[in-house]
């Protein structure tokens, strides 16, 4: 085999035959369930958001995850992040993970930005001391200034993402999952994030990046995975990947 020596590029994420099925129940309340009891199967719609996806991501690579709306990109990221469990298959992962999933990190709306920084630090496994060390540079990077002591429910969506991104990149993650969050940042901030991501690449961190911007994908990624209706239909180089993406839209 001509694969590179294992100690130079260890695998960070390994997904084997991962499938995820969503059951959409239209009836949430007890009454509706009782009323529809006999016909309950008719009231369930299920479909596979992911179908037998297998994927290995080695350390230091930047993978672009692309596909049409509803093709399962966010679902795959959540499965990789352990936020939802696959129905079949298994996901293995190692190293510290930071995830920026669909509009924002895990913030608590009633808490101030400051408190959320500490909350997220604790979630990512930092001690209070460690978070304190990072705190000033997080605030500086996010450029939200005095708003750090405002409850995050009063943040604009851009400010929200700024803080979320700032936290995620300051906690020294080995693996960073980014799902389209940068789109709401203004241009200077997007530039800043791109620069940070490039720095991350140099430091050998692994990034999985979901975006609808072909330019960003082309710019950052060294590998592209195309999803279509829950299946990984392409896995390879960036240019070919974007081509495959365009073809997949028609389906």
């Amino acid at each position: 085999m001509s694969s590179p020596a294992p100690e130079s590029t260890p695998v960070v994420v390994r997904a084997s035959d991962v499938s995820k099925r969503f059951v959409i129940r239209k009836d949430k309340s007890l009454k509706e369930r009782v009323v529809n009891f006999g016909r309950s199967n008719k009231h369930k719609d299920d479909f596979w958001a992911l179908r037998d996806v297998s994927l290995e991501i080695s350390a230091g690579s930047t993978v672009g995850l692309v596909g049409a709306n509803g093709s399962g990109k966010s679902t795959l990221l959540k499965v990789i992040g352990g936020i939802i469990q696959p129905d079949t298959g298994i996901v293995q992962r190692r190293g510290r993970l930071a995830a920026l999933l669909e509009l924002g990190a895990g913030f608590h709306p009633d808490l101030t930005g400051r408190e959320n920084v500490f909350l997220n630090g604790a979630i990512l496994g930092l001690s209070r001391k460690q978070t304190e060390q990072y705190f000033d540079s997080i605030v500086e990077f996010s450029e939200i200034g005095d708003f750090i002591d405002t409850q995050v429910k009063f943040y604009s969506s851009g400010m929200y993402v700024r803080l979320a991104f700032a936290i995620a990149v300051h906690v020294d993650p080995d693996l960073l999952l980014v799902d389209e969050v940068l789109a709401v940042g203004d241009e200077p901030f997007q530039e800043k994030c791109m620069a940070k991501i490039r720095e991350f690449q140099k430091e050998g961190r692994t990034i999985v990046f979901v975006s609808h911007s072909s330019a960003q994908i082309e710019d950052l990624c060294d590998r592209v995975v195309v999803l279509s209706h829950g299946e990984a239909i392409f896995d390879g180089g960036t240019v070919d990947g974007l081509e495959a993406l365009r073809e997949s839209f028609g389906r």
Partner: protein, 316 residues
């Protein structure tokens, strides 16, 4: 590749994989590893408890005072209406201490169960975005309920001292035992119900009603001797046994026995002799069994929780 990158790669190569996939319900080993995982997140638990306490009264100007006003108002209501107007105080010595003790322990239980039940839903923002051992949310509810309980317990003890009724005897040991049993059952229910509530929101409302109902199934505003009179003397002692099967009832009795000195003594109220409470037989054994059954219940509840939590993020 930069040095930093090589170093990182080398470190990663030595790390073991963590895997996520469908969980099995039956493994008790899963319980142990879940407990270990939660202990690894003590710092986070601490933060979540403080968050819960803080956000509860965050936008109110009296803040924490509210957590005292509620139980004191309840005390007033029960003391005046049940105790004086309906006359329960004539059969229960030191009625104020008795009622406040009952309300304190009941408050712990009902707060654990109600706040615990909705804990997953209220933390939806976090659950949808980050991976955590999710048991942490109901446990944070337990923690914040305990904090409120500690304050009220402090008031209760001060009150017993002020009224010269401090229960200085070995029976005082019943107090921690009762509290532990309440925590055990509260935790089990919080785990179970919070998970079910994600799938069926009616659980939350059902719990509110059940809490109202079960309030009367424990000796909080009436005393244990009242139950004995109503059952044994009418030849229905099995009903009394049934009553004691409720873990909260037996804990409540134990709590009263520990903290409510007048209950273990003969007192005279308005010329009537009130004998000491006929504490249940084999009370210690009953408490031990109740606690053990409760622990089994916690394990079962956690296993069910673990099974259901896989789909939390997509259901809320």
């Amino acid at each position: 590749m930069t040095d930093q990158a090589t170093e990182r790669a080398q470190r990663l190569a030595t790390l073991p994989f963590e895997s996520s996939g469908p969980t099995s319900v039956r493994s008790v080993g899963g319980f142990v590893s879940a407990v270990r995982e939660i202990f690894g997140q003590k710092e986070l638990l601490d933060l979540l408890i403080r968050r819960e306490l803080k956000s509860r009264y965050k936008d109110s100007s009296l803040g924490f005072v509210w957590s005292l006003i509620r139980p004191l108002t309840m005390l007033l209501i029960y003391y005046v209406f049940i105790g004086q107007v309906l006359g329960a105080a004539r059969g229960v010595p030191d009625f104020a201490i008795f009622v406040y003790a009952g309300l304190t322990l009941w408050g712990l239980y009902s707060e654990i169960v109600t706040a615990g039940t909705s804990s997953i839903i209220t933390n939806a923002g976090l659950i949808k975005k980050v991976y955590l051992p999710r048991e942490i949310f109901p446990l944070a509810s337990v923690g914040s309920a305990l904090f409120n309980f500690a304050i009220q317990m402090g008031i209760l003890l001060l009150a017993t001292i002020a009224l010269g009724q401090f229960p200085l005897s070995w029976d005082l040991l019943y107090v921690p035992v009762a509290v532990i049993i309440v925590i055990i059952y509260g935790t089990a229910l919080a785990l179970l119900l919070s998970a079910l509530n994600v799938y069926l929101r009616d659980v939350q409302y059902l719990v509110e009603v059940a809490i109202l109902l079960f309030f009367w199934a424990s000796p909080i505003v009436y005393s244990w001797s009242f139950v004995v009179n109503a059952t044994v003397q009418r030849g229905a002692s099995w009903l009394g046994e049934l009553y004691l099967l409720n873990p909260i009832s037996i804990s409540m009795i134990a709590f009263d026995r520990g903290i409510w000195k007048a209950g273990s003594e003969q007192r005279v109220i308005e010329g009537n002799v009130i004998p000491a409470q006929p504490w249940p037989e084999h009370m210690d054994i009953r408490l031990v069994i109740t606690a053990i059954v409760g622990l089994v219940f916690v394990v079962i509840a956690q296993r069910i929780f673990a099974r259901l939590q896989g789909n939390f993020a997509q259901e809320i």
